[in-house]
């Protein structure tokens, strides 16, 4: 399954004094199996773009295509997109409402009209995927859980619909370092199992670690697109947009400023370790003790 945004423009509240254009002429194809990172300043239109991918928002102009078919065309069943593309909103734990964890996770499959035993199976599978395996957790109230666990329940609720593609809006926001790391490992694992991932993130270190492709947005437009390697080579440009670069890139920039011959293609921790070892083996860096 492939989703394509074709010259999409989105204006909120058109014709009112509060009119604002959040997306302008955005074209993007999400390839099956990739891990796409969406980066950009707050207000650059990332969340708006995410909500176009599963047809929650309709473009003011332009089209959203699923395998070549316009999803907003008359006669196209939106439930097909909703089932194939799982959207995890920012702070998804705020959408929990059922009395028990199991019932909340079952909400999506229930809306799909699946038989009860199929729903049960999917709930168990989804909870296992997100690592909620403690005995009796299904029967707990979701409101008794910790923040990180609540978020896992919410993600399980999306996974239970067995989407091919998972769109996550800042999935690690507001978590403590351990839960953060667990969350990212979970997403990486889902990707390894074959899911297409679109992740909005503010952490360039995470983008460098996991993404296979990155898209940079500014003022509702896509301004950069490519592999993390290609994107982070333009560290200065990212910084001029008010964005971070991975800490490894910053280290590289500083080393180069000091006259050390560190390649600009280095943006991951392992690469940095390798590059530094190489430099070490070459002997003492020039100009410095």
């Amino acid at each position: 399954m492939q989703i394509t945004l074709d010259h999409v423009t989105h204006t909120y509240q058109p014709g009112s004094p509060f009119q604002s254009t959040a997306l302008e002429d955005v074209s993007l194809t999400i390839r099956p199996g990739e891990f796409l990172a969406l980066i950009g300043h707050t207000g650059s239109g990332k969340s708006t773009l995410a909500q176009h991918i599963n047809g929650l928002l309709q473009p003011t102009s332009g089209r959203v295509l699923m395998d070549g078919q316009d999803i907003h065309e008359k006669g196209f069943d939106k439930k097909v997109v909703r089932r194939s593309v799982g959207l995890v909103f920012q702070y998804p734990e705020h959408q929990l409402f059922e009395e028990t964890v199991a019932r909340d996770v079952a909400f999506g499959p229930r809306n799909l009209g699946l038989p009860a035993d199929e729903i049960d199976g999917r709930v168990r599978e989804a909870l296992k995927k997100v690592g909620l395996t403690q005995a009796g957790i299904e029967e707990k109230s979701p409101f008794e859980l910790s923040g990180g666990q609540m978020r896992r329940v919410a993600i399980a609720g999306v996974l239970a619909m067995r989407p091919d593609m998972l769109v996550l809006d800042e999935p690690a926001a507001g978590l403590d370092p351990q839960s953060r790391e667990d969350m990212l490992q979970l997403i990486a694992q889902l990707h390894a199992q074959g899911a297409t991932i679109v992740m909005i993130s503010h952490s360039m270190d995470d983008v460098a670690r996991f993404a296979t492709r990155a898209v940079v947005m500014e003022h509702g437009r896509i301004t950069m697109e490519g592999t993390p390697e290609e994107i982070f080579r333009h560290a200065e440009r990212l910084e001029s947009m008010g964005l971070d670069v991975p800490s490894v890139c910053r280290l590289g920039i500083q080393l180069r400023q000091m006259g050390v011959n560190c390649p600009d293609s280095v943006f991951r921790e392992e690469q940095a370790v390798q590059a530094l070892l190489d430099l070490w083996k070459e002997g003492k860096p020039h100009g410095h003790a």
């Binding site: 909120y12 509240q13 009112s16 509060f18 909500q51 599963n54 929650l56 439930k79 909703r82 089932r83 799982g86 959207l87 909103f89 998804p92 705020h94 959408q95 929990l96 409402f97 909400f107 999506g108 809306n111 799909l112 409101f143 609720g157 999306v158 619909m161």
Partner: protein, 270 residues
């Protein structure tokens, strides 16, 4: 699903003489206007009231379109009261026999009078809310009601509750919009089905909304206490209200209006 499209409080931002009036004075002026509208006993007595409203509207720079919009929701009530008065009020001079009833001159005049009153009342109050931000309005209300604190009327608490509610309505609407989208992404359907099905579909929206409202209320209470809020006792104000020349002029105008209405009433026209 366009929850944000609902505009709340219909404040029309502008920098006009009416906008600049003290909110307390504006509230008193509205009360004065209501008194004048109810005192007017014949159509001639409405002329000064209408002139006053026209003057106020022009000075306020509020588009007439917005004033008219305020009356729109009332059109059914207007037509209904007009017809009821027309057919059922007693009178002596028959005007027109419509078959099932005879329309009398006195009934027609009273029907017109009542409808007119309703329209003027709504326009007057619209003008107040169009030219005064809700927060300023509650501030003015609190100050006007504060003498009642002597008899333990909770003027400050009431105004505080009103301004907090006003502050959070847009936030809650935004939140509702977000939750609705999140549940729609999980296949929820808020738009089709019979009444029972739709009512049940609201549960996944309302539960998270209440949870979030309580969380926000808790956070707000904490934040207010952290900044030493302890009720209205001894609190100073950000907006210091002062009576200006414009306020005095407006009050004089209102006194003149009421005088004119009384004078017209005593002329015994229509």
């Amino acid at each position: 699903m366009a929850m944000r499209d609902i505009t709340l409080g219909q404040y029309y931002p502008a920098d006009s003489a009416v906008h600049r009036l003290d909110p307390r004075v504006k509230i008193l002026l509205l009360i004065g206007l209501i008194v004048a509208i109810f005192m007017a006993r014949n159509l001639v007595a409405f002329i000064p009231v209408v002139l006053f409203l026209i003057l106020a509207t022009v000075l306020s720079q509020v588009p007439v379109r917005l004033m008219i919009k305020g009356i729109k929701p009332l059109r059914f009530i207007l037509v209904l009261t007009f017809l009821l008065n027309l057919f059922f009020l007693p009178g002596e001079t028959p005007l027109w026999d419509v078959g099932f009833a005879v329309i009398k001159k006195e009934a027609l005049l009273t029907a017109i009078l009542y409808s007119f009153r309703l329209v003027l009342l709504v326009m007057g109050s619209s003008l107040l809310t169009l030219t005064t931000p809700p927060i300023v309005l509650t501030d003015g209300l609190e100050r006007l009601l504060s003498p009642l604190k002597v008899i333990h009327f909770p003027a400050h608490e009431m105004a505080m509750m009103m301004s907090i509610a006003l502050r959070f309505i847009p936030t809650l609407l935004e939140e509702a919009d977000k939750i609705m989208k999140a549940q729609t992404a999980r296949g929820a359907d808020f738009e089709s089905g019979n009444l029972l099905k739709r009512a049940r579909a609201m549960v996944p929206l309302l539960v998270p909304l209440f949870v979030s409202a309580f969380r926000r209320a808790g956070d707000l209470a904490m934040a207010m206490e952290a900044r030493c809020y302890h009720g209205g006792e001894g609190r100073t104000r950000l907006r210091v209200l002062r009576i200006s020349d414009g306020d005095v002029a407006a009050c004089v105008l209102m006194a003149a209006l009421i005088f004119c209405v009384v004078a017209c009433n005593s002329l015994h026209l229509y």
